[in-house]
Assembly symmetry: C3
């Protein structure tokens, strides 16, 4: 059921978990949730993407639940954000967006890598990477009774998918896991940051045809 | 884990997937989502019902993710709808409702059939058929931050349940899979169409008692 | 896959299921859903917490779906509430809150107990107990397009967690299952009732720091 943990996946997962827990907690505070709600939103944003991935690929109980460090980390990130809220909100918006892009890229790469490790086909591995990266944020938005922002704003899930595809293609070409993961990360992170700076959007007005 | 695919299930699933992807994409366009959001809504409406079923009956990774044709089909249906939106909206409402009823009946039958194939008990198989048929649409509505329409409009999930029960009863009586699936389809489709034409509703005002 | 059912878990589960089905159905009626919607909300509130737990710990098909008694019970509870709505709404608010606290405590204990039975680690077992207790209500609120009330109101999930922790600690100290479950129940129920009477809340305004 559970492959021996790849240390690359573990290291990436831990960093991404902390970043996303902070973001989820921020969203919870801004929606006036109480402490528990804030912690649940931090936990969901950080870990539910990976939990969905693990349930879909049959790796249950999901790693985020089996390994107490993930839970502890997500809850610490949320609690820290709650306590230091007035400091966190003074962080410039571009720094938060950059951290978020890093978390996105990390989770896309870690989710793809884990799926490949378990023998999942490359096409599905890229989808699993994307779900790992954006699933937690979608659940956070659903819990806040919003349309998930990933469904209507610029290049976000697209960047995660792009990074996952780079990783898979490089692995197919015989590149070793660490450099492949690095370029996957770089691809996702760069596309996301460029899209933010240049205000790139996916089309949303359907073209008239015929 | 994964039974050899029943060709009847595969054929039905493919048709239903395409119909539901179009519908989901339409809902996404009408909610002003961008291209990715439209594709995700098409994918969710078409495939998430079956994915939930597969997770619940332990057939992971779900077939919709393991077989690249489903993903390709759902995404093509969504993309086509996006590109040809101005044509699709001119399709008369009754044609869309009929297609939707056909998709509903197909998924109810395919979901029930697959559960029976995996040795699930008949009672649960009818529930799995119903979830397959309406689960994708419910997730679509949740993503759009709506109360799922299936919970408050007329005879919809009821028709799916009805078709599933017909299939299970006929199989119990010794009818062979293909005719049983046909009559299950017919039962669901007919009930849904009659309910639309006659404006049948389930009761929603609670009767006064005592 | 499926451990022999612990009779303690079964007895508790059945009582909690009925209480939560009534509550879910009430929420459905108040949101003007039709009969099917009311039954689905009763079913979801009563059984989805346990289904999520079973999917996460790999006990699929979930017990709530494998054992027809749970489905029958949840649907009967919902139907009864629909038929007797005018009687149910005359029940004093404090009686409903007490019943709800009892259901919460029962599900927290039953979910923790089942996870321990399956060899899940104690830390995760307490989370599974809490999810069992509050997961159904969260899904109910999401289906009604609300922010789950558990995320922003007083001591609710906290009470479930508290009861689960008591049970786990007592088991660690060598207490036998029945008394451990009893004290877990008592801890959750008492904390919830005291919190209601004294209007205890978790903090929601972040303290200024530094």
């Amino acid at each position: 059921m559970t492959a021996k943990q790849n240390p690359l996946v573990v290291g990436l997962d831990i960093t991404g978990t902390f970043i996303f827990a902070i973001e989820g907690a921020l969203a919870g505070i801004q929606a006036n949730l109480d402490l528990l709600g804030v912690l649940v939103l931090g936990f969901s944003t950080a870990l539910v993407g990976g939990i969905i991935r693990d349930v879909l690929i049959g790796a249950v109980p999901p790693n985020a639940l089996r390994d107490w460090r993930y839970t502890t980390l997500a809850i610490s990130g949320g609690a820290l954000t709650f306590i230091c809220y007035h400091l966190v909100v003074e962080v410039p918006r571009i720094a938060l967006l950059s951290l978020d892009a890093a978390g996105l890229a990390i989770f896309a790469v870690a989710g793809t890598e884990k799926s490949l490790d378990l023998g999942i086909s490359p096409l599905i591995a890229t989808m699993m990477g994307t779900i790992t990266a954006v699933g937690g944020g979608m659940v956070r938005d659903v819990l806040l009774a919003h349309i998930p922002s990933v469904l209507r704003t610029d290049i976000y899930a697209t960047a995660a998918l792009f990074g996952s595809i780079i990783l898979v293609l490089l692995r197919k070409l015989g590149v070793r896991p660490k450099p492949a993961a690095f370029f996957g990360f770089l691809g996702c992170f760069s596309l996301r940051m460029v899209a933010i700076h240049l205000h790139w959007h996916l089309p949303s007005m359907p073209p008239v045809l015929g």
